[in-house]
Amino acid sequence: MMSESQHKEPIGSSLPQASDELPVLIGKHTYGSVTDKICDIVLTRHTPWFWWAGFSTAVMFLGALLATIYHVLTTGIGAWGNNIPVAWAFPIVNFVWWIGIGHAGTFISAFLLLLRQEWRTSINRFAEAMTLFAVTCAGIFPLMHLGRPWLFYWLFPYPNTMTLWPQFRSPLLWDVFAVSTYATVSFLFWYAGLIPDVAAMRDKARNHWARLFFGVLALGWRGSARHWQHHQSAYLLLGGLGTPLVLSVHSIVGLDFAVSLVPGWHSTIFPPYFVAGAIFSGFAMVLTLAIPLRYLYGLEELVTLRHLNNAAKVLLVTGSIVSYGYLMEAFFEYYSGDIFERFLAVERATGPYAWSFWSLIGINMFVPQLFWFSKVRQNVKLLWVLSLVIQVGMWLERFVIVVISLQKDFLPSSWHKYYPTIWDFSMFFGTIGLFFTLFFLFIRLLPMIAISEVRELVHIKQEHVQ
């Protein structure tokens, strides 16, 4: 139980660190020095070579996405390999993969805020940006999968001349509401946190256009005690609302599958195990982004080994929950006594797609177990490689769930293997291009670390020294 006095503490404060813990902030920093460190990445005419290299590569992939969208719009979704019975193939695999990646951002921002984890500061901002961009990428897939995406507004309830109304008993409609709410609330949360920081940029910028840009975004923020009081209240509430929201979104994505009667989908364990998988893949993405960023921009003092170490611990926990999910899924299939369920379990392990199943088991069940060892958690290069491997594993998990379950269902006469086409791959890699294009623009144009929260951390640190 929290006492009254703890309730009044500013966000981000916590008990003094145990001496054996890694620091969240390294070096002698002042309010001014952390402000400079973060602002100077943006407020400079000099754009580093690695930014141009990364951005131009990302834009090339974005070009592939646009070309694919053009092709799919002009020829129809038959350009993809989807067909009956595997009507949900790459688009849904990729949709779930991206949505899952987004979840770590909200988890870091909202859930760790409520738990007053001070290691959340300095990785929350770009994790939130990651959420927004991942949701953007995710949204493209179901939209294109509609076949006639220009009629997407039919998904929403509005009075129309067809006198049609959406079916609120369908999980697919729940998904529309969950994902659009999630995108909106993630944006509000991200922007609320950004307001004081863009005000700092506005007041530090010397270039006229930069001042105008940040001035408009800052909305006239002055940092008065009243501003802060309402801001902190709203921010904490958004955190409190974001936490159940993130759980609900991936639960509903899980229900898209679980509510159907398809063997391999019809399982009550799906919602919680989807949520754990989402946070698992999302934290892997956080590491994939944070490790090169802190090295290239010299942010090792702000994004420390403590952050990486803790993120790896989260991977261990969520990876273990996911592993438990696999075991329970296999057990339910056996214990149900249903021949179709049992058949599917054998098909997964020995059928034509067994390679994907065993790679996924190898990656998602065994790789996270390496994080029991602090030598692995604190080996930055190894951690980065493992974070990429985990994302491949989580992509395979969705592939196994979607494709293997659909290709052989009840009637052998309708069995059919699935082969993706080049357009499936160009669409998938194209969204990776879109994600990184947006991400590179974000790190060039906006403060990637929450400045005011790091100042608060400096203040708390000073108090501890005194």
Binding site: P10, Y31, A199, K204, W221, G223, A225, A234, L238
Partner: protein, 182 residues
């Protein structure tokens, strides 16, 4: 220290401090001296400043509750209208008002309503967006978004006097005192 000519109308007087502790102490003493229209500015939320300034608790939590309730009620009405009145569809003989299936959307719209009220309520109560403010006329005020702490006594305070108020602020452990033109 900037003093403006007597004929320039003032927004108030602004004192600059180096630490948050000095700011809290100054806020307490200013309030004790009887000033009511006092505002503090800081680069991060300072613990204890709300009490020192005598601020009332924020309205945001209540607004958020209202937003959540509005979201929930509109979700229920919408779902009932669609499923039972506008487009009744018999799905496996289940009742038209099959409320257990309405929960996911009910939850999402509750969160959406509450979050929107929290965010936009915060902007409205804070009077944002506000592109111009007299304080932005003081060049040093830029440091309020960096590493300095400021306390302003506004001219609309009945006890405000451009000479006396200034003298009062100067005897605090301040780094500098500025007149803020309206």
């Amino acid at each position: 220290m900037t003093t403006l000519a007597d004929d320039v109308e003032l927004y108030g007087c602004l004192a600059e401090f180096v630490t948050p502790e000095e700011l809290i102490d100054a806020a307490r003493r200013t309030r004790a001296a009887g000033y009511e229209q006092v505002e503090a500015y800081s680069p991060f939320p300072v613990h204890g400043i709300n009490e020192a300034l005598g601020l009332r608790p924020s309205w945001i939590p209540r607004l958020t509750l209202v937003g959540g309730v509005c979201g929930a009620i509109s979700a229920l009405l919408l779902e009932y209208y669609c499923a039972a009145i506008a487009y009744p569809l018999n799905v496996g003989g289940r009742p038209l008002n099959s409320w257990p299936s309405f929960f996911p959307v009910l939850f999402e719209l509750t969160v959406l309503g509450a979050s929107s009220f929290a965010f936009f309520g915060m902007l409205i109560i804070n009077g944002l967006p506000r592109p111009y403010h007299p304080l932005f006329n003081v060049p040093e005020f830029k440091l309020a978004q960096r590493d300095r702490f400021f306390l302003a006594i506004e001219a609309k305070d009945p006890r405000f006097d451009r000479v006396e108020t200034r003298a009062f602020l100067e005897q605090l452990p301040t780094k500098a005192v500025y007149d803020v033109p309206e």
